[in-house]
Amino acid sequence: MSDYSTTLTNDLLRPLIQTSWRFWLLVVLLLGVVSLGIGAFAYQVNQGIGVWGLNWPVFWAFDITNFVFWIGISHAGTLISAILRLVNAEWRRPVTRCAEVITVFALMIGAMFPIVHLGRPWLFFWLMPYPTERQIWPNFRSPLVWDFFAISTYLTGSSLFLFLPTIPDFALVRDKTTGWRHRFYAILALGWTGTTKQWHRLESAMQIMAIAIVPVAVSVHTIVSFDFSMAPVPMWHSTIFGPYFVAGAIFSGIAALIIAMAALRKFLHLEKYLHPVHFENLGKLLLMMSLLWGYFVFAERLTTWYGNEPSEMTTFWQTQRLSFAPLYWTMVTVNFILPVTILSFKKLRTITGCVIASFGVVLGMWLERFLIIVPTLSHKYLSYSWGSYRPRTPEILLLVATFGAMVLFYVLFSKLVPIISIWEMKIGQHPQLAHEHQTADEASTMWRTQP
């Protein structure tokens, strides 16, 4: 094995084998945060949904905001990874698994919220499409049933898309470990040996999955947007919502990916593999999505303002200069002004710059989801039906716990699975030679420094 391969394998297996007290401290802290959310949820189940700030006419607020937000974050991984695989972008290799993991966990967290939102979560199976004993069959004309199909398809596809390329790495860990770890990874490796036939089938399967998962990912957030746009409600009933939601999802997903990669680089000492150029490339993508997001917001707002339809204008002014204006302009600042200012300049497009912009985008995209839902519901049509909404402690705790859960899942995953695909990194050592006399080592150095 070459020196590079040996170092690569050792570096990427180190987090799986060595555990410091700092890891356990972090896990305990995160478990504490998650417990707060579980406690808040248990309190809500025990006391009823009245412990939330929901009241007529605002029946969708934090929980549905969280649902849309986390489903959006999930677009970081599988979609980006699939696109980069399909275009054969060499720089994707250290990035793809970090990204795919976000998808699976964000989807799990997001998909939980419609169940939490039910108020009586033990009846969640009523959402599933099957004939009930009351002979009421599922209504396939309801966007909420579309959600069930879209999210379950995306979660299944994303989980498999994450799992398949980890099989060869599980086999590697199996061979490099002893005791319980050897037995554990032997089961996960499914008896993989690495015959040419297995490699070829795996690569074909990954190609098919990448082709299939891109339209599924686009459909998922389009369908989530249909939860709103299918309703004849001011500021919701819009044809732009599908692409607007998809763009927003990819936008927030890239931001989440940048934050996750920066944390992995710092805490798992992966500086050799996650280079500044990876952040710069993702920073450029984030900049592009920020501009696209700004374009969509402008198109949506201009159309509403120009139409001057009274019920829409009520909601419009609530966000532009009345009660929701501070949140709205914060959103515009952190989603557009901040990232465009930072990421437009090469000097500022550093790891720190990208991370600052990404934190802004994550905050801004949560606010965007909130501002789509609450101002509209609280100022719908005639003024006698107007109301207000203020979140209560259980809702805030549940929101905080979702972030804790995401980090906890990510930390535990990176403890059990190489967070960068080892075999894909090894293939990266063998790029096409740029010229006839270039040695393999020269070519390898070339892609490692100039992906």
């Binding site: 094995m1 070459s2 391969s5 040996t6 394998t9 499409p129 004939p131 002979q135 009421i136 069959w137 599922p138 209504n139 396939f140 004309r141 309801s142 049933v145 579309w146 199909f149 879209a150 379950s152 398809t153 299944t156 596809g157 498999l160 398949l164 099989i167 060869p168 086999a171 590697l172 061979d175 490099k176 499914l190 008896g191 993989w192 040996t193 690495g194 015959t195 040419t196 036939k197 297995q198 490699w199 070829h200 089938r201 795996l202 690569e203 074909s204 399967a205 098919i208 999955m209 299939a212 998962i213 339209p215 599924v216 459909s219 369908i223 249909f226 075999w423 090894k426 293939i427 063998h430």
Partner: protein
């Protein structure tokens, strides 16, 4: 069954051993090449190229499509409730379900086909050496059909210096 294999440091050496075995009269299908990463640029990888997974994925997608049409249409006709002024069989919303189930069919079929074609999960003793995880490339053949150990050793030696081992499968 006894098998003999060589462990090579580089893919070009493995390729030479592979060619040497073929020249010694070993059928290509009997030769096992195992590596820790795919080597698409070498001939020993090419023999397993196949479009079967793509075809099966297409078939899975078609099955998902048909099932979705049956599920949506059948459900709507079995309980003909008018909803939102839409027709009983409302194709526009049904297309959403049909699309998702089509893609799910293709995805699940791809994964099942991969597992079946790669013979996974497999917990029997295959021709394998943990040195593969250290970057070695294994080229081996079973000693069947009157094949002599010596002739295989000689053919493997064409690849250059290598560790040659005998194992029971």
């Amino acid at each position: 069954m006894t098998a003999i294999y060589g462990l090579f440091d580089r893919p070009d050496a493995a390729q030479r051993a592979f060619t040497g075995l073929k020249r010694a009269g070993v059928p290509s299908a009997d030769i096992t090449v195992v590596s820790g990463e795919p080597f698409e640029a070498f001939e020993f990888s090419h023999r397993d190229h196949s479009m079967i997974l793509f075809r099966l994925a297409l078939a899975g997608g078609i099955i998902g499509f048909v099932l979705a049409v049956l599920l949506t249409r059948g459900t709507e006709l079995a309980w003909p409730l008018v909803t939102g002024g839409m027709p009983i069989v409302a194709w526009w919303p049904n297309l959403v379900i049909i699309f998702e189930m089509t893609m799910l069919g293709a995805i699940v079929t791809t994964v099942v086909s991969l597992l079946v074609a790669s013979k996974l999960p497999s917990f029997r003793k295959d021709l394998y050496d943990p040195a593969v995880s250290d970057g070695k490339i294994l080229v081996g053949v079973p000693l069947t059909g009157g094949r002599s150990e010596e002739s295989v050793r000689q053919a493997l030696a064409v690849g250059g210096p290598a560790v040659v081992k005998t194992t029971q499968m």
